[in-house]
Amino acid sequence: MSERELSGTAATRRGVHDRLAALGPGRAPSFDPGRTLRLGVEFARQLRRRRTQVVFGLLLILPLIIAIAFQVGGGAGSDAPQLVGLATSGGFNFVLFTEFASVGFLLVVVVALFCGDTVASEANWSSLRYLLAQPVPRSRLLRQKLIVSGALSVAVNVLLPVWAFVVGGLFFGWSPARSPIGGSFASGASSERLIIIVAYICGQLLVVASLAFLLSVSVDNPLGAVGGSVMLVVVSNILDQITALDPYRKFLPTHFNYAWVDTLSSPIRWDDMIRGTGLALVYAAVFLGYAWLRFDRKDVTS
């Protein structure tokens, strides 16, 4: 029988049978748990996903849309907040506006997507059980997944302001940042403050990231994990509006989300940013600790 004939009727080929027959007995493989699911592999798995590419694409388009809108519409109205009113005064202020506009929801959704989808989507595709059976040790799987989704989140957080700065600069010039309370900062001080802002926002999004990650290891549905963590942010924002909750409001996970505008004061006010960072760390530790405990023992039935 020719090989071609065989392949038309059967799944495998004669050659395989011969090859199997020629095999020696099995040997214990060279296996090192520390080399499983290396970061490069996990990056390759995530970066080739359409949702990753779409998110980055949207983030590249967003500043362009805003800039064109300002260009066509002639800037913000006179009754707009001053930070918004200053958006068109130069690259730095355009970045400040873009961050101000996206911190509340867009970045939350993106980070929740990266961190909430990472394990849950594997469960959804059933590929999680094959990774675990390889075996990728469970703690290591979580660690690698968290590093990669965290790195993607940070990349978004860095890319957005950098790209917004370029777009804002091209559209509105390269003048240094102007503060809503008057005055402007030298370019060096502007960049320094921008770095602080990005770092602080990353820290704040740690809460969303860790909750999304906890949900991701708890449910088999990526939508549930992403939606659940976005829901937390929405609920926390609503509760934060209720001043009657007052001594306790400051412990809400989103209470200090916008404390980065304190970098626009001169000198920089650190107090709320310190509180916000401390709070974010505590929430992240609780969520991630629970995620690890849970996943370590979890019966993977998906």
Partner: protein, 855 residues
């Protein structure tokens, strides 16, 4: 019970309960603070007037628990006691008895307005103190009733006058009020005489007393007060009668009699009673050893929309301290920088509160000052006849709005020839002004013997935007001059709080007009200059630090501690869980040993119940049983996906735990394939192998690809595959690296008969290499044809295990014949009865028997 608690429904229930408890307690606390206050309304006899009794309309607010210290709360000018309701309830909610009243001449109270006259309004307040002193709800200490006086504006002035007149007052909180009405109505930034009439503000103030049914020309004013005002307003110069009246109504002259600790809150946005009024009160009261606390709050008469709550909470804090006996002579000083920070909530500039250890005054020692040189040539300025057009700096009562109108009011005054400018160099570093700057200027009237000017200090940004802090100007009135003769004077500029940023200039403007003031009717010219062309502007600087700022490092320390604690605890728990089972060296050659395996899911369902079997090298073991027999659960435990409830699984003598390294010697295909749908079959296999971290050569890719037999489809995305293709790819993935133990769960699902035959052959040959295959199936024929050994499971229990012939033999022997008819004849001839039955496969019989046994 434990199982029940862990069930999902219970957890959701507990969460909902927790949310309800939190929400309920919040709502309860809010409701409790509202409902605890009880009120009663009554008329109290005031000071009789012209022989007729006068009744004062009062409301008494009682807190939840009495007796308690009392607060006599007085109203502002205009309106009546009803506008004090919210404030009174706040005080009462904090445990104070509060008496509010409509002052005489206002609301439903009788009498006429004498404008804080000691014989009338102040005496009324004393009568109300009598009333409070008689109430049993008012706390007494050593027989003395505990009564405080509080109020804003008119009420604040009355409170100070009352505290001077009545020793029973134990504490005072006076908000946005005056020290000397002469200063307030006729301010003068040079010297001490009456200055320029603040006609718009004062006119509006007096208009507040008009009401339907009262005198058309004088409203509810007493005739003498009305006449004195009208005479003065006509000329812009105070008559002696008005001066006497203003003097009587001014705390300035009775401050030495105030022994009650006093809180003075003053608005920074107030052109009626500016910060200098509170400063004079503070100095006067403190001079006699009485504790005074000063707070500069946001808002004021020019911006009533903000700051009132700051004043109320400061008053509560103050009264709490006074009645607890915790008031020392040195008091902290709090003030507000209106545009000190950017609001995190809105992105707008927002106020920040600063605090200093002690009140430094608005100028002079101990207020630290800085000097800024302003310079400019001598400039001629003209005042237009009739005072029009006039510079607009402020619209009384609408300062908050005018500061938002923006450029129209904040730019430098532009009416031609009316203003002299003297600017500083751009500041090298930012300058935090807090207080009253002073500067010396030289004024020469060209034709007149008197001069009216308005000086102000503006903040000029590099982009040309000029800001007039708090919209305040300092009116200057000089008299007794000689035309053509220069006169050098020291101007006290408005008291402000403002952080002037580096790169900005300070601009001293001297203007001939201001729309808020009475201006000379004749046209005139002055020359304005600085002594020697430049002057040192003496600027009091901010001494405080932001109240909420600082470095609350405790938050970070606590957070770091929590992180370490949680991290440590989680690591501890995880490591502890690992130390359960030890390897068994004697079993190192046994591919799979399952011992007393039980898996119970939440809810008590036993998927696997006490299953034990052993798999040796070279065997093809079939795990046989109907759906739900526990086959898949057993295999999931075998590859470490599920933790068993009890029992152990050993692979080559190593206990199987989640992530155990020995699992690398297993290749698994369990309950269907799992691939990344956005990648091709080839990429999936490659990435899967890459994830194991093992060398590429070990993978034996070609063998796996041949087994999958997908041809060119291997380079298509997996999402386009049919079920059978995915199944074959999954089996190929399990065989990557040719593992010593191959675990396949229902591998033939979705394959067509030739592919099944092919697969059978592959497995047989695979086992012949000495490797081991464990395959589960619910199809008898499948197992019988493929396997050397079989393990029969039913409802989680193992019902039989052994080689296929052994198990099949357990059911007795069967004889198959070629020719049934002939055999029957032969048998019949031999005397053996025979009956033909449809053929049944051996294992099937056994299986049905075994399964039947356990029903």
């Amino acid at each position: 019970m434990r199982e029940r608690l862990r069930s999902r429904r219970t957890r959701i229930g507990l969460l909902a309960l927790a949310v309800l408890i939190v929400a309920g307690s919040v709502a309860g606390a809010v409701a409790a603070s509202r409902s605890a206050v009880t009120t009663s309304t009554q008329f109290v006899a005031g000071t009789p007037e012209n022989g007729a009794p006068v009744r004062l309309d009062t409301t008494l607010y009682l807190p939840a628990s009495t007796p308690a210290p009392a607060i006599l709360l007085s109203q502002g000018f205009g309106g009546d006691k009803t506008e004090l309701d919210g404030e009174a309830r706040t005080f009462a909610a904090h445990g104070y008895v509060v008496l509010t009243y409509s002052a005489r001449g206002f609301g439903r109270s009788g009498g006429l307005i004498h404008f804080a006259a000691p014989r009338y309004e102040v005496h009324d307040a004393e009568l109300l103190v009598d009333y409070l002193a008689r109430r049993p709800e008012v706390q007494r200490v050593a027989g003395r009733p505990q009564i405080a006086a509080a109020g804003a504006s008119y009420g604040g002035g009355l409170s100070l006058l009352l505290a001077a007149a009545d020793p029973r007052i134990s504490a005072v909180a006076a908000d946005i009020t005056w020290n000397d009405l002469t200063h307030a109505f006729f301010p003068n930034a040079v010297g001490s005489g009456p200055g320029v009439f603040k006609k718009v503000w004062i006119g509006q103030l007096f208009a507040n007393a008009f009401a339907p049914g009262a005198s058309v020309s004088c409203g509810r004013f007493a005739p003498d007060v009305c006449a004195a005002y009208q005479a003065s307003a006509r000329t812009g110069r105070p008559t002696p009668a008005l001066l006497a009246m203003l003097r009587r109504a001014s705390p300035a002259h009775v401050l030495d009699r105030i022994s009650a600790p006093t809180l003075l809150t003053q608005g920074e946005n107030d052109s009626l009673f500016p910060l200098s009024e509170a400063d004079a009160n503070a100095r006067g009261i403190a001079a006699h050893g009485t504790p005074v606390r000063v707070v500069w709050r946001p808002g004021g008469h020019d911006d009533p929309s903000t700051g009132a709550s700051t004043a109320v909470s400061a008053a509560i804090e103050w009264f709490d301290a006074v009645f607890a006996g915790r008031v020392s002579r040195t008091q902290p000083f709090r003030y507000t920088e209106a545009e000190g920070v950017v609001s995190a909530a809105t992105g707008d500039a927002a106020a920040q509160t600063l605090q200093a250890d002690a009140y430094p005054g608005i100028a002079g020692a101990p207020r630290p000052t800085s000097t800024v040189t302003v310079a400019g040539p001598s400039q001629d300025v003209a005042a237009p006849a009739g005072g029009v057009p006039a510079a607009i700096t402020d619209i009384p009562g609408f300062g908050g709005i005018s500061s938002r109108v923006g450029s129209a009011l904040t730019a430098l005054p532009s009416a031609f020839g009316q203003t002299a400018y003297f600017a500083s160099q751009p500041l090298a570093s930012s300058l935090a002004i807090a207080g009253q700057p002073t500067v010396r200027i030289v004024v020469t009237p060209h034709t007149t013997r008197d001069v009216t000017l308005f000086a102000a200090l503006r903040d000029l940004a590099p982009d040309g935007a000029a800001t007039l802090p708090a919209q305040l100007v300092a009116p200057i009135r000089l008299t007794g001059l000689t035309p053509g003769q220069p006169d050098t004077v020291t101007v006290r500029l408005p008291s402000i709080v403002r952080n002037v940023l580096a790169g900005h200039r300070l601009v001293l403007t001297v203007t001939t007009t201001d729309s808020g003031y009475q201006l000379p009717a004749d046209a005139r010219e002055y020359t304005v200059a600085l002594p020697g062309g430049a002057a040192q502007l003496s600027v009091p600087v901010s001494t405080g630090t932001p109240v909420s700022a600082g470095h609350p490092v405790a938050w970070l320390i606590v957070a770091a501690a929590v992180c370490l604690l949680i991290g440590g605890a989680v690591a501890f728990v995880i490591v502890r869980r690992r130390r359960v089972l030890r390897p068994i060296p004697e079993l190192a050659d046994v591919p799979v040993l399952i011992s007393s395996l039980t898996k119970e899911y939440a809810g008590g369902y036993r998927a696997v119940d006490d299953v034990s079997f052993r798999v040796e090298h070279g065997q093809v073991v079939g795990l046989l049983g109907p759906n739900g027999a526990g086959k898949t659960t057993t295999l999931r435990v075998l590859v470490g996906l599920i933790t068993p409830t009890s029992g152990q699984v050993y692979v080559f003598g190593q206990p199987v735990l989640p992530g155990a390294a020995v699992l690398a010697r297993l290749g698994a295909f369990i309950e269907g394939p799992g691939f990344l749908p956005h990648l091709t079959g080839r990429e999936n296999l490659r990435l899967y192998w890459a994830a194991t971290g093992r060398p590429f050569e070990e993978a034996e890719f070609q063998t796996a690809l041949d087994i999958a037999g997908l041809g060119a489809s291997i380079d298509r995305r997996v999402r386009t595959y049919s079920h059978g293709m995915r199944q074959r790819l999954g089996i190929a993935q399990a065989m990557l690296g040719l593992p010593e133990v191959l675990v396949l769960d229902e591998p033939t699902n979705g394959l067509d008969p030739p592919q099944i035959a092919e697969m059978r052959e592959v497995l047989r040959r695979y086992a012949q290499t000495g490797r081991t295959v464990v395959v589960s199936s619910h199809l008898l024929a499948e197992v019988e044809q493929t396997c050397t050994h079989v393990v029969v499971m039913h409802k989680g229990r193992l019902v039989a295990a052994g080689s296929v012939p052994e198990i099949a033999g357990a059911g007795g022997m069967q004889l198959a014949v070629d020719d049934v008819d002939k055999a029957q004849q032969v048998l019949a001839a031999a005397g053996i009865g025979a009956e033909a039955v449809p053929a049944r496969r051996a294992l099937e019989d056994v299986f049905l028997d075994l399964v039947g046994d356990t029903e």
